[in-house]
Symmetry: C2
Subunit: 282 residues, 2 copies
């Protein structure tokens, strides 16, 4: 059984940590400066609180699971300690950013494993995959044996795991932002009711889908902005147009500033959330 | 029963004309300089060939149904004759372009009705709507009574019909281009097989959907480029990001240049078409 460090458990990270704990590993996290919600999730996932230095000293593997805009900073903090274990970046980042993270941690003496998580926070088995790639990926994969997280080797180049995540989210989160923009365009043009009636006839899933998109954008848009920018950069690097995801970043940036009254976030209905988000886009 | 002019019947136009013929109207089209395929469709829809001048002189209503980039030119050709009947622009154009078409034809003495077609070429009833808007829309709608084309008034501002079409296609054709870009990104990053395996698990409809998108892009991309640009302009006019549809225009522009061997267009399988289109994107 391994001792694993987790930087920094949000909803996804806490659930991944919980998977490791469920099969017998010790998972350390650093509570310093973290919110009450984070602490609650860490407690319920049975993670072990530890100061940053102790986490670094005791962990043979460290997982970085954080908003994509923080990935390089987290790597720098770890590298600054001279950490020389295995460092897994499981964030939604481009190959270029993953290369940067790899360079930072390997310069300090660590080994780098590339990762990408697809699916919801893994609570029940069968819904979430952790893709891993790079020469040491096979040393990380078995940590999740018999857990609710399906860890798989992504065949292909060294940063295949990040690449799969980019291409997958390019559709899921990109299309979600596009749907909100289309509905906002109808609203702005004074034809939203007619569009909804037409959707009812020919695309009957889109009304509810746009409400779900609005809910996600309001609650998670703040960390999807950087993810969309990572995908836009990946598109550019591949010689493909970056406009879809530059626009999606803009949509999520506006949506997460939506004026949801404090404390009412979970109380609002999907329709109310949609109203708030569409207004914020325009 | 009315005499209706149709400029210039492609696949959609011929089917709309066929609907008018099916309920007893005479539909004139101008065969000059049109392809053998166009002539075949016009014949099978029982449209009546007529020189341009005769079409103008005899028609009490003229429908413009053409690729969006030609909409203003068609309006200018009609206005140059001093046509003073009813002019219906049923193309996928922005409000700004519709305003331009309206200004051109009304300056010559015609009345303008805004239109937008949603659905496939209307052959069987129940699948295709013609939205109409503007003060004279109610004079055009009854022409389609008892036909396979469901003509409806789009409530709202004068150019509501064009606006509905823009918002509707913003999703359908925008998302189709996005899906192709996502798959091309996976291909370019060397992880397409892993992406397809992940889609199989969590988005099982996307593989076939991307093949259908490739088929449409290869066959219709040439007229969707301008449509995506019209939507991008509509987004900008509404204060929304134009990047989704600028990128989609780029995707369709590349896709329709895909090197499908001449004469094999209908013979290629969906998988072969997808290969050709994805290669053209990269």
């Amino acid at each position: 059984m391994a001792t694993v460090g987790l930087l920094h458990p949000g909803e996804m990270g806490a659930a991944v940590g919980g998977c490791l704990v469920s099969v017998g590993h010790e998972v350390l996290w650093d509570p310093a400066g973290r919110s009450r919600a984070t602490t609650g999730r860490a407690l319920s996932a049975k993670l072990t609180g530890a100061g940053f230095d102790r986490l670094i000293a005791k962990s043979t593997v460290i997982f970085s699971i954080c908003p994509p805009h923080a990935a390089v900073d987290v790597a720098r903090q770890v590298a600054a300690t001279g950490y020389n274990g295995c460092y897994v970046d499981a964030n939604a980042i481009s190959v270029a950013t993953a290369e940067q993270v790899c360079a930072v941690v390997t310069a300090a003496g660590a080994t780098y494993v590339d990762g990408g998580i697809i699916g919801p926070p893994p609570e029940a088995a069968g819904h979430t995959r952790l893709y891993l790639s790079g020469p040491q990926a096979n040393e990380v994969r078995p940590l999740f044996n018999r857990s609710a997280l399906d860890a798989r080797i992504a065949e292909g180049p060294q940063y295949a795991a990040s690449s799969v995540k980019m291409a997958y989210a390019a559709w899921t989160k990109g299309s979600s932002a596009l749907l909100l923009a289309a509905r906002a365009l109808a609203r702005a043009s004074g034809v939203e009711r007619t569009l909804l009636a037409e959707w009812q006839l020919s695309q009957p899933h889109l009304t509810a889908q746009s409400e779900r998109s609005a809910g996600s954008a309001a609650s998670k848009g703040w960390r999807w902005v950087a993810e969309m920018e990572e995908i836009a950069a990946s598109m550019t690097a591949a010689g493909l147009p970056d406009g879809f995801h530059e626009a999606a970043a803009d949509v999520y940036d506006r949506a997460c500033r939506a004026d949801v009254p404090a404390g009412r976030r979970t109380a609002t209905t999907p329709k109310e959330t949609l109203e708030t988000v569409i207004s914020a886009l325009m």
